[in-house]
Each structure stands twice: as structure tokens, then as C-alpha cells.
Amino acid sequence: MAYVIGDGCLDVMDRSCVDNCPVDCIYQGTRKLYIHPDECIDCGACEPACPVEAIFQDVRVPEGQRGHVESNRAFFAEIGSPGGAQSFEGPLGPDRLPGEQVGQ
């Protein structure tokens, strides 16, 4: 299990969640942030930290935003497990959004 960032973050990227993540597993895209599904320890610190309530536990993602579970995973598919977001300035990779064909 892991937490997932949904629609609310798109073009917002407040980043409060980043400072609250104990394992530093919230990475930046160009338009939104992504939680690494394998690095996340499921502690829940990010959920209340988000000012736009864009973060959900993966089993509780609301209808209509479920696609973010897969696109969060897809974001890291080629990147692997970088082991800490603080080492990166700027976007880590191209955005992955629900409904888009990966690879296009």
C-alpha cells in the first residue's frame, strides 16, 4: 500500500507534503508531485499536510481519480527508486496523468 497524489495537485505543487514525508519519497514532475509507491512507508503524514487535500491512501482514492494510482507508478517506471527526493532539483521526469497514453 502507499499514498497517491491526485488531481488536486495538478498545477498547484504546494510541496507541504514534501517537508512532512519522513522518507523523502515525494518527487516532482512538471505539473504535479508523485509519491514513490515502493519507498512510501504508508505513514500518512502527507495527507493532512496537503492544503488542497489531493493526497489519498491508494485504497481510498475517490472515483474518478483512481487512474492516479497507476500513473503514479508509471512515473517511476523508468526511474526506479532514487532513494530520496532532496537530491533532485526540478522535475524528475515527464508527467504521467490518467487517461494519457504512456510513451506518447
Binding site: 512532512n20 514525508c21 519522513p22
Partner: protein, 434 residues
């Protein structure tokens, strides 16, 4: 050349480690982290439930932080016993207290002193293998346990009591604890909340685990109207469980709402919990049988020698992390001794960043050459357990885990911890001798 500034951090739990990491990594300071235990990680090691294995993965993050250049670990050093607060003030450019909230609130009820009644926090310390924990015995005579409280600690102790022996064997609990739990005769675990099903302070994620327990069924004792009207993710779970068909499992976890314990009764040791109904119900609730009562009604900070203390809130008063804004002493607080026992582990990371901002702003205001810091030399504190000592304990625990198929099994006494830290662990010797 700019003299290197040195900061002392008291407490090697998550908030202390995050503070040290910020100071060393972002600001390039030297940081000495002290802990009264010979082991780092604080409540991650001695508070996070042993079956929450995912959360324990945070250990790797904290280890990486403590291994940064510039950070040293001084375990088995208690401030006030081995080193005075004054010495820390004099030797370091700043001192950050990250000492947590180790004391437990009590119910203040008649019968609370009976054998079989203890703070849930003491039970947590016991199963976590804390070297100061009093052993829990007699679980073989407990058929019904009552847990008073509506927070996540109540859920932790209820879940540990509910789990099967083989589930707990895969965790890091000490062998003696596993043996005691294996002999448990517990059939019913009653979680008693003063609040209604919509007001409990459980984290929904942790409550949801009860629906997945292999060894226990869940029963919700709530009034139909009250449950129907309750809102929030916890209430959703409770409603789901009321619709579940009973399953035959060795144990049952019961959730009660709007119940206020009034009296614990013996004879000799606790046998019953009397309650009043706190909600709209008119009928007097029947007492619950209980041979074990765990009270999970909150924890609080303990006064730190030499620092002011807010008795009411159980915290050290501060302004943006700085203790005593008007005094020349550069003393700071972070974590639960600063905010009280709230938030999840990650909350401490943002909290540490806030305290470090204040500290760095203060340091910027003093001359670089004003009384350079005189941090302790390696080996100067004779009884201190350094990082190498901790790795000795760590290795011993990992080795013990191999016999049980667990990632580690904790060393739970002072003697064994110090022996392992000094490299003469019986476990390692036996292994080397083959």
C-alpha cells in the same frame, strides 16, 4: 577559517535525528546526538508497533541520516546523570532537546492501582523490548482484556493482543515477550471509547487493519441511530463491520462507544470494569469482565532539568522552537516535548526544519569566534555507546532473528544491550564458534 559550529541534540528519536540531519546536511554543522539508551531511533524502535513492518522501514532513512559526516552518536548518556545540562550549554553552540513525551496520563479511577491494570504505554514498552519495561506476566490467566482509549495506541495494544503467535513471531519482539503472548488465553478484547463512532481519534488506515486480522473477528457495539448518523472514514468502517457475518476466529475485538469507565474492581487483581454511559443511552451499561486493563488515554512530556515546563500541557514552553526568548542560552526544543504528543512521524520532519530555522537565525547573530564550541572527544564519555557499539547491538539482533525467521529479534535488557555493544555478545560468540 571559520570555526565549525557544534550543536548537541538530546534524544535520538525521529525528531532528534531529523534535526541533526538538517543541521549537518543543509548547514554543515557538527552535531552530537545523545540518547539515554544505547540504541538510536526512539519511538520508532520502542513505540511503533512491531507488526507495522512497513513503518519500521523508516529506520533505514534515519540510519542514513545519522551516518552523515559531522554527526556522532553518544548512546547510554543521560543528561542530568552522566552529563549536566550546564556542561552541554557550555560546550556547544546550541542544545536541542528532542526528549519526547515519556509519561502517561492515568484515568484517576478507584481500582486503577490493582494488579492487572497498567498504562498501555507500559505494555507497548514491554512488547517493544524497552530495557526499562517491567515484564508483563500472567496472560495465560487473561480471557478478557479491556483497552480504554480511542487513539492509535489503543489500536496497537488491542491488535497485538489479537494477533496469532505465528504473526508475532515474524516481528522483532523479544523471545520472552513472544513466549508470554503465545501463552495468552485472551478471547475477548474490548476497546472502550468515551466518544461516539464518528469522533474517535483512530487513524482510519490503522482501524482498517482490524478488518483484515486472521486471528480475530470484529464486533461493533453501537446504537443503530448513532452509528447511522456518524460521519468520517472510521464510522464507514464500523458500519461495514456491523454488516459482516460473524466468523469463527479464536479471538474477538469489540468496539464500544460512549462508555466512560468509572471504577475498576477486584478482588485482589482487576476482574471487572464498571462504566457509565456517556452518550444518549439511558440504560446503565453492564460491567465488562477484565483480567487485564490497558489505559491508553494519552502521554505527556516530563520536565527537563534546567528548562521551564508547562505543567498543564506537559511541554517545554518555547517561541518558534527557542526556549526562553530573553535568555542568552541557546536551548531549543523539537518533537513531542515541543508540541505535545500529536502528529505522525513525518510531522517531526517539518517540525525539525522549523526549529533549525530559528536556531540558525540565532547563530548568525553571534560572532564566529565567540567562545568556540568544545564538543566531547570520542571516548571522553567512558560509558557512552558510540555508533560502532550500536552496530554491535544491531548485528546481535539480526542474528537472533535468523532462528525465528524474523528480520531481527530485539535485545531487551540493559546487561545484554551493553554486552552486545561492547562486542562480547553471547549470540555472536556462539555463532562464531559454530
Amino acid at each position: 577559517m571559520t570555526p565549525l559550529r557544534h550543536v548537541a541534540v538530546v534524544g535520538a528519536g525521529p525528531s532528534g535525528v531529523y534535526t541533526a540531519e538538517q543541521l549537518a546536511k543543509v548547514h554543515g554543522l557538527g552535531v552530537d546526538v545523545f540518547d539515554r539508551l544505547p540504541t538510536p531511533y526512539g519511538l520508532l524502535r520502542y513505540g511503533v508497533a512491531p507488526d507495522h513492518l512497513t513503518m519500521k522501514r523508516l529506520t533505514a532513512t534515519l540510519e542514513k541520516a545519522l551516518l552523515r559526516p559531522g554527526i556522532r552518536f553518544f548512546g547510554n548518556v543521560e543528561i542530568g546523570r552522566d552529563v549536566t545540562a550546564k556542561a552541554l550549554r557550555e560546550r556547544y553552540d546550541a542544545v536541542v532537546y528532542a526528549v519526547g513525551a515519556p509519561d502517561h496520563h492515568q484515568l484517576g479511577l478507584p481500582g486503577e492501582e490493582l494488579p492487572g491494570v497498567l498504562p498501555a504505554g507500559d505494555f507497548v514498552s514491554w512488547y517493544s523490548g524497552h530495557p526499562d519495561a517491567a515484564p508483563v506476566t500472567g496472560l495465560g490467566a487473561v480471557r478478557s482484556a479491556v483497552v480504554v482509549g480511542a487513539g492509535n495506541v489503543a489500536l496497537d495494544v488491542a491488535r497485538v493482543l489479537a494477533r496469532a503467535t505465528e504473526e508475532m513471531a515474524a516481528t522483532d519482539i523479544p523471545d520472552e515477550v513472544l513466549a508470554e503472548l503465545a501463552g495468552s488465553a485472551v478471547r475477548d478484547i474490548h476497546v472502550v471509547a468515551r466518544r461516539g463512532p464518528g469522533e474517535v481519534r483512530f487513524t482510519a488506515k490503522e482501524l482498517a487493519e482490524f478488518g483484515e486480522l486472521k486471528n480475530a473477528d470484529v464486533r461493533v457495539h453501537a446504537m443503530v441511530d448513532e452509528l447511522a448518523a456518524a460521519e468520517g472514514p472510521c464510522a464507514d468502517l464500523f458500519r461495514t463491520w456491523t454488516q459482516r457475518l460473524p466468523v469463527d476466529r479464536p479471538r474477538t475485538v469489540h468496539f464500544h462507544f460512549g462508555r466512560v469507565p468509572t471504577r475498576l474492581a477486584g478482588p485482589g487483581r482487576v476482574a471487572e470494569v464498571f462504566m457509565a454511559s456517556g452518550g444518549a443511552a439511558t440504560a446503565q451499561p453492564r460491567p465488562l469482565p477484565a483480567q487485564l486493563v490497558l489505559t491508553a488515554v494519552g502521554s505527556r512530556g516530563r520536565p527537563v532539568p534546567g528548562l521551564p515546563f508547562d505543567e498543564e500541557r506537559g511541554v517545554v514552553p518555547h517561541t518558534e522552537g527557542r526556549v526562553r526568548a530573553d535568555a542568552p542560552n541557546r536551548e531549543y526544543v523539537v518533537g513531542w516535548i515541543k508540541r505535545g504528543p500529536t502528529g505522525v512521524i513525518g510531522t517531526n520532519r517539518a517540525d525539525a526544519m522549523a526549529t533549525v530555522r530559528t536556531l540558525m537565525a540565532d547563530l548568525a547573530g553571534i560572532p564566529e569566534d565567540a567562545g568556540p564550541a568544545r564538543p566531547f572527544d570520542d571516548g571522553e564519555l567512558e560509558a557512552a555507546v558510540d555508533w560502532a557499539g550500536w552496530t554491535g547491538i544491531d548485528a546481535t539482533e539480526v542474528l537472533r532473528g535468523t532462528d525465528r525467521g524474523a528480520a531481527r529479534v530485539k535485545v531487551g535488557t540493559w546487561d545484554e544491550l551493553l554486552a552486545a555493544a561492547h562486542g562480547d555478545s553471547r549470540g555472536i560468540t556462539a555463532f562464531e564458534k559454530g
